[in-house]
Symmetry: C2
Subunit: 206 residues, 2 copies
């Protein structure tokens, strides 16, 4: 191998309640991916662990990181900051890893501009009714918060066409298989295979 | 469902001896695809069946079809015509089928221009040495023909970067899985999912 192949940067967005965490957890179990842990200033929900689901930080700390250029992208959503710490991502990509960023619509646009080779997937619910039901089952949120999330979801979904791929999360296994297929396919994009091709042809002359 | 989704047109090219027929046969066994049978003016090799591997035709008949605009794309390769009869392809696509065209490099360029939504895959051997060994095992051809095929293969592989994807046919199972992943992924391209998205959002208002 002549030089390590650059890793694949995958951006995954979805309206709240679409199951992106479940999809990602399942994919992590099936193939080696690196998941960037986002930093947020919102409060932890029951069961969420600091450093695993998110880094939970107060606003002062978040703004300090931002000022020091240690945040790759960030967005303010529903009154809270969400950002991707830059630290690990570039290192992982250099090592040829598949890196998955779970980020909001606005942040996704920023990553697309910073990493034109990145691949973006928008996960959608089978219907808005099902999304609403899923949000209610979660039960950690007030009616007001649920309505706010639904309004934001409708608005976010208008951005789906800007993503490279759209995956409907109806049956979990199908959505997982769809994302896995996208990762596998993208690694064969000819724009990423220049070195490989040279190697095949190079042997011809050796 | 509001209207049938347009099918996916997949173009598969590979230097002679790279195993594209084996890959396609395996994929056909695993998922529903429609394979266009090409028409050629070259002689049938032992074991090849008319109407299955190719339609074998004489030059006069081929040129008549061409004149009547019944050939979607064609090329002259090694002194013989190879073309794709137009008949079935458009009908299959209209019905939402996945249609696979096994065509030469020049023809692939023509299809890309005619069907900008088509997806193209170039299959390459792990190395030129292995390609040569595979061509020799085939044994139906003279040394001169083998050398001619190798020269053409090297030249064809220069066109690989114009294809959307490059798949190395080392282990057959891997190459088959790669092509299947590409088909699955491409069906989720956001550019093909406009209707689906409208449906999800439409339910929201109903």
């Amino acid at each position: 191998m002549s030089g390590k192949k650059q890793g694949l940067l995958l951006v995954l967005s979805a309206p709240s309640g679409c199951g992106k965490d479940t999809v990602l957890t399942e994919i992590s179990a099936q193939m080696p991916i690196k998941r960037s842990v986002s930093m947020t200033t919102r409060a932890a929900r029951p069961g969420e662990r600091d450093g695993v689901d998110y880094y939970f930080a107060d606003e002062a700390y978040f703004l300090k990181m931002l000022k020091e250029d240690k945040i790759l992208e960030y967005t303010n959503y529903n009154g809270h900051y969400y950002g991707t710490p830059r630290t690990a991502v570039d290192e992982w990509l250099k090592n040829g890893e598949t890196v998955v960023l779970k980020i909001e619509v606005e942040g996704a646009g920023n990553v697309r501009r910073l990493y034109p080779d990145s691949v973006s997937i928008f996960l959608v619910p089978p219907s808005m009714q099902i999304l609403e039901a899923r949000l209610r089952r979660r039960s950690s949120e007030s009616e007001e918060e649920i309505q706010s999330r639904l309004t934001i979801a409708r608005s976010e979904m208008q951005n789906a066409p800007q993503y490279d791929y759209i995956v409907v999360n109806d049956r979990l296994e199908d959505a997982v298989e769809d994302v896995r297929a996208i990762i596998r396919a993208e690694k064969h994009k000819s724009s990423r295979c220049g070195n490989q091709l040279s190697e095949v042809l190079h042997y011809a002359e050796s």
